[in-house]
Amino acid sequence: MTRSRLTAIVRACATLALVACQVDGASGLLTVYGDPLLDMSLGPASNAAFPSIANQRITAAAARDTIEFTVNNLPPVGIANAYQIALTDSATGNTVAAISRIIRTVRSRRPVTRDSSVIVATVDTTIGAQFYVLDTATTIAIRIAHANIPNYTHVLLRTGGEGAIPFLLGAATRTAFLSFRYKSGTAFAVQSAVLGTWAMASAGRVPFSAAATVVDASFWGESVRIDLRNLTRPPAGFRYAVWLVDDRTGTVARLGGLIAPLPNSRSLDDADVGSAPWYTTTMIPEARVRADMRALGVVPQDFTTLAVVIEPYGGYAPPSRPGTGVVLSAAMPSSVASRSASPGKIVGTVTSTSGRNVANTTVYLRGINMTIPSQVTTAAATGAWQFASVPTGVFKAYAIPVGDVAPRDSATVTVSAKSVNGKLAGDSVFVTLRIP
């Protein structure tokens, strides 16, 4: 072998070595790891309304055999769950289910003209020691008529998740989410109601306050990740849950509850009265929410708000809707909301059953799960009307003729999304409302 051949081989090796020792480009060492985190501003909700008792009173008659009070802002319960009414004696623990007259009022709203609205109340009355609530806009008036009222000291409201009402409470037993005292010693005096877990010993009572420190709240790919600290333990029979809510249509989706901090991932659904290393007497020092939206079939841009609420547990399934007990809420991150389709349009006409155009009819639009109208308009002389900007979703359109106060026809309208020039846009839908 000649020296020139050897030199050629060595030079080839040197060239290969230089290729192997390549220098990276300016960004060659950065690798994007998964999806970006889309942050939410999770904080106290301005419109939160927690369960409360008002107008409580006991009869002034010598018999002291009637207690009346009104309960507001009770969250809906799940299937086969109910709220329970009980009387208890804080000295002995003796407890009894309080058979009561229960008047339930559900309010909704509808516009009569374009500029005004009417509150519509549906009232029903039952007798029993328990009741259920399916709608957030429900007020419960309760009248307990019981000859043994003087033998007890407190009214307790419980949830079916705590089980049947016991005959005797232990000194350390914690129960009930709403309570008020009406008898102290031999004196009858109704006191303020307290939201929070009740116990015979005042040291065992845990008043509820809606407060938490948000460490992190974000969407990450298909998952929702929330890290929280210093939550108050929920009232007995309640737990924390996270919901997505579409304020435009009323559509909701439950993402799940709290789980324990790492390395444990146990459910904290028992945080009301349970005992575990991750609870203190009154607090949950650290908790997480991890939800896989793909597994839940949830499309986040279809919603406008994320809410951490307290909800009653028990029954066969979680409630179908969140209540107004919102501890924390956040608007969808703009980077998520921007994925939703641009608004569509609903146009229509109002005719009589004979086909004649009807003018000046009040037409209003309501999300399929809403009790409050989202848009109102008045039909023109030709009977034509339109809502020019309607988000995608399912709505119901109602028609109230001139001079009337109730809708005479309605139609369910679905505004779908379609692809226009590569972008999602709401569809245009035509609806005919017919008035008798």
Binding site: M1, R3, L6, T7, I9, V10, R11, C13, A14, L16, A17, L18, A20, C21, Q22, V23, D24, L29, L30, T31, V32, Y33, G34, P36, L37, L38, D39, M40, D216, S218, W220, S223, R225, D227, L262, P333, S334, S335
Partner: protein, 234 residues
């Protein structure tokens, strides 16, 4: 890096000049190309390397100075490579842009120099020579200044061992296939972390896969093909 390349090329180009030495000198020089496959926990990705070796071969017995006799030798070697770290084995970097936080796995390219001295024992086998070797030396890592905030060098001992098959191509040239391992001592994986100059991600640690435990003495594999030149012939 440029100076290092110049040094390596200089050494390689100087190798043919060794052919001028007396034919009785039993010195061999070689240049090799191969791949370093690091233990996963080192957070270094496999990389090609180039190396030089000089060896002084001795027969078992001076009376048996023959090509087919067992041999004993001392070799010195110098290997250079530019491995890249595995960013997934370090904390992620988080960069905020409005309501969006981008996550990055940060890697850096390291200049790795392995030098050592090995004892080599060779036995003839079917016209070739099977060689076992073992020795020690040093490994040096030169970290990227952009990632580590300044020029940093880590120099620690290492042990090397392996097997090779040497096949003569001509009287003066042979090809050697080598397979062996190097064990790094006092290895410090965290020193390779390129994330330190950026905000460290704290939010998805429970979702990111945990890195393999970092050993202090990882053993890496390497294989190579060497072209050896023995001035004066075997």
């Amino acid at each position: 890096m440029r100076r290092l390349n110049v040094l390596v090329i200089g050494l390689l180009l100087a190798a043919p000049a060794l052919g001028a030495q007396p034919a009785t000198a039993r010195t061999a020089v070689g240049v090799r190309l191969g791949e370093l496959v690091f233990a996963q926990a080192t957070a270094l990705k496999p990389t090609p390397f180039i190396g030089l070796e000089a060896a002084w071969q001795l027969p078992w017995s001076p009376a048996r100075r023959r090509a087919d006799a067992p041999s004993f030798g001392i070799g010195v070697s110098l290997d250079v490579s530019r491995p890249r770290t595995d960013g997934a084995q370090f904390p992620l970097a988080a960069v905020d842009r409005g309501d969006t936080t981008y996550l990055y796995a940060m890697a850096q390219r390291v200049t790795l120099v392995q030098s050592g001295v090995q004892a080599q024992i060779g036995v003839p086998l079917a016209g070739a020579r099977v060689i076992g070797y073992a020795g020690g030396g040093w490994y040096a890592m030169l970290l990227g200044s952009r990632a580590s905030g300044g020029s940093r060098r880590l120099i620690h001992p290492m042990a090397s061992f392996g097997l090779a098959v040497d096949d003569p191509l001509t009287r003066t040239l042979s090809a050697r296939v080598q397979f062996g391992g190097t064990t790094y001592v006092q290895f410090n994986r965290s020193a390779l972390d390129a994330t330190r100059s950026l905000p460290e991600e704290q939010r998805i640690r429970d979702a990111a896969p945990a890195p393999a435990p970092a050993p202090r003495t990882p053993t890496n594999l390497q294989y190579s093909v060497m072209l050896r030149f023995t001035p004066g012939g075997v």
